[in-house]
């Protein structure tokens, strides 16, 4: 299907307008497998929009995004969902764990949706990796912020996606936790062979990542 030489993410001439106003304009950018990248930029620079385009949730006004060799932005909705399901795990700042399900069930649901089957050994291993074994049957509302973050990371990885996209995963955390969080992301991504793309305005993470990609506020760059 794809060769390893193919970049995992390839962004070209990407631009998105809302009501005639440019909300995001990205310079060309590629990331190979294993090249964990920090997506930097001030608030309003369109980081979330870029992430939505990369994950196929919105169609850019112009330009293209290739994920694992396939042009995500050109696919019809159903195939876009399928590509995302197979290749991408997402971590949001607000976690978005399903409140009616336990941590373990949240992981199991994500796995069923992505793979159509359950690998409970992998789920247990991931839960252990993020240090939540004792909280596996707790509901999200019973978790601390840090525990919730770890559960969300485990969920993003439980279908073993090639790419994990995280949107501001550390902005709600204090220094120590932010760094620990970044380390956990790196560790678990390494363990499952996933490549990280982390959107943040949090400079505390810079020292952990060698590759960065900076988005300028569209008004400034244009």
């Amino acid at each position: 299907m794809t060769t390893t030489a193919e970049p995992l993410i390839e962004v070209r001439d990407l631009r998105h307008d809302i009501a005639g106003r440019c909300v995001m304009a990205a310079p060309a950018f590629t990331a190979l497998r294993g090249e964990h990248t920090l997506l930097l930029g001030p608030s309003g620079s369109g980081k979330t929009t870029l992430i939505n385009v990369i994950t196929g949730l919105i169609t850019p006004s112009s330009g293209e995004v290739k994920i694992d060799g396939t042009v995500m932005s050109a696919l019809p909705a159903a195939q876009r969902d399928q590509l995302r399901r197979r290749t991408i795990g997402v971590v949001f700042q607000t976690l978005r764990l399903i409140g009616a399900l336990s941590v373990r069930q949240n992981l199991a649901l994500a796995q069923t949706l992505a793979l159509g089957r359950n690998d409970s050994a992998l789920i247990d291993r991931l839960i252990a990796q993020v240090g939540l074994t004792h909280r596996a049957d707790a509901r999200p509302r019973e978790l601390s912020q840090g525990e919730g973050q770890r559960a969300a990371i485990a969920r993003a990885l439980c279908a073993q996606p090639a790419l994990v996209v995280a949107d501001e995963p550390t902005s709600a955390l204090d220094d120590a936790n932010a760094v620990a969080m970044a380390d956990l992301l790196l560790e678990t991504a390494e363990a499952t062979g996933a490549t990280l793309l982390i959107a943040t305005h949090d400079n505390r993470l810079r020292e952990r990542f060698s590759r960065t990609f900076t988005l300028a506020a569209p008004g400034v760059s244009a």
Partner: protein
């Protein structure tokens, strides 16, 4: 964990709301099920007991009362009629069969019916133990009577005057059980059958032997029969008047002979031989004699239409209740899904396709409705079972919880479709949702 599992998890997550919605639907479904069971069993019972009886002749009064008392054995009789009426009607060529009934006594609440063996045959009754009566004070028990009283063959019992069982006892004239009938599922099951002569004897008329009485009677009627028949050959209508007069003479004679009151029966069950009878007989009896004729079919239709108004009102109420519970499910799902917009967006992010999410939401409505519907059926049958156990009258009517009507399946399907419908509007939103916007708007 699948999307179906997620539907269940959401229902569990708001357990109180779920329980209340299920309860509301349970109540409406149970009400409908009770109505269905009650009305279907009631009308079926009505039909079964009245099958083959074209006309009932008795004393003047309410025709409905006559039907209820003589066919269904539930109301008090309208009065008595002269025994000679039997012969008068038997002589009518348009009449196939006349079964006399003498009512008024009971044993432990079970009616003692003085009649002929033909009455048992009419309901397809068969002897399970013993034999049919051959003489006075011999009784054949209906299956339910035997079961409830525990009476066996050879047992003697004393009938009491009146149908409620608290009248004075005919202690000097005990009955003996000579036969027990197999269950028929008709009114016969809860009756005690004895020759008409037993009733006459118990009430102080010279107690003739059953055979003797019948002979006497036959004899008395024989002339009459021949006479009437002749008459009939000559002219159609005049005959009846003449016969009635004749009968009066005969009755007086008997009266004199026995030194007590005129022999009477309570009512006559009549089967027509030809459809001519239906045209002529009822109007003749009602207009030209001191008797009353009532057609079960007509009276029961009248009764059911009277009851029907009440049943329709309750049914309308139950349907309204069901619509309310549908609305309640709709409101619950609608507000729950508003709160879960973020979850739905996340499901999409995780790769769930809109049709799958749509199905998952509809399933939530269907699960709610199915739980309510099945519980409702269970509760409905439970209520009927408890009612039948508590109120002997309902048991007498043959009300049972152990029967399922096809209409119940319809009710369940209607409830489930309603649950699906209630979920439809909120669920359709999933096809229009802008995930990126929802993710930005919901935190």
């Amino acid at each position: 964990m699948t999307l179906a599992g997620l539907s269940l998890a959401y229902l569990r997550d708001r357990a109180l709301n779920t329980a209340l919605n299920i309860l509301l639907l349970t109540l409406s479904v149970a009400t409908l099920v009770i109505l269905v069971l009650f009305s279907s069993q009631l009308s079926e019972r009505f039909e079964r007991d009245a099958r083959g009886i074209d006309l009932v002749v008795g004393a003047k009064g309410s025709p409905l009362q006559l039907i209820l008392s003589s066919i269904y054995q539930v109301d008090v009789p309208t009065g008595n009629i002269p025994l000679a009426t039997v012969e008068m009607l038997r002589s009518d060529p348009t009449v196939a069969e006349v079964i006399p009934l003498a009512l008024g006594d009971s044993f432990r609440g079970y009616r003692i019916v003085g009649t002929e063996a033909a009455y048992i045959d009419h309901f397809g009754g068969t002897i399970a133990q013993g034999q049919v009566f051959t003489g006075n004070y011999q009784a054949v028990l209906g299956a339910q009577v035997a079961r409830q009283t525990g009476a066996g063959l050879g047992q003697k019992f004393i009938g009491s005057h009146g149908l409620s069982g608290d009248g004075h006892a005919h202690e000097e004239t005990p009955y003996e059980v000579v036969g027990i009938l197999a269950p028929t599922g008709t009114v016969l099951d809860r009756l005690i059958i004895t020759p008409v002569g037993s009733i006459w004897a118990a009430h102080g008329f010279t107690p003739p032997a059953a055979e003797g009485a019948a002979e006497d009677h036959d004899h008395a009627g024989h002339d009459h029969d021949t006479h009437a028949h002749d008459d009939h050959d000559h002219d159609g209508d005049g005959q009846q008047d003449h016969a009635a007069e004749d009968h009066d003479h005969g009755a007086e004679g008997e009266h004199a002979a026995h030194g007590s009151g005129e022999l009477e029966v309570t009512a006559l069950l009549i089967k027509y031989r030809s459809s001519m009878a239906a045209v002529r007989l009822p109007s003749f009896i009602n207009k030209q004699t001191q008797l009353q004729a009532a057609a079960p079919a007509v009276e029961m239709t009248r009764l059911l239409s009277l009851l029907g108004v009440g049943i329709d009102a309750i049914r309308a109420f139950a349907v309204l209740l069901m619509a309310t519970s549908g609305l309640s499910i709709f409101v619950a799902l609608y507000s729950a899904l508003r709160q879960r917009e973020g979850d739905m967006a996340m499901l999409r992010v995780m790769g769930a396709r809109p049709p799958a999410i749509f199905g998952h939401i509809v399933l939530e409505g269907v699960l709610l409705a199915a739980a309510g519907a099945l519980l409702g059926v269970a509760v409905g049958h439970g209520v009927v079972a408890v009612s039948a156990a508590t109120f002997p009258q309902l048991q007498d009517m043959g009300l049972t919880a152990a029967r399922f009507e096809p209409a119940e399946l319809l009710i369940v399907l209607a409830a489930i479709s309603m649950g699906a419908l209630a979920a439809l509007i909120p669920a359709l939103k999933v096809f229009r949702v802008d995930i990126a916007k929802t993710l930005a708007d919901t935190r």
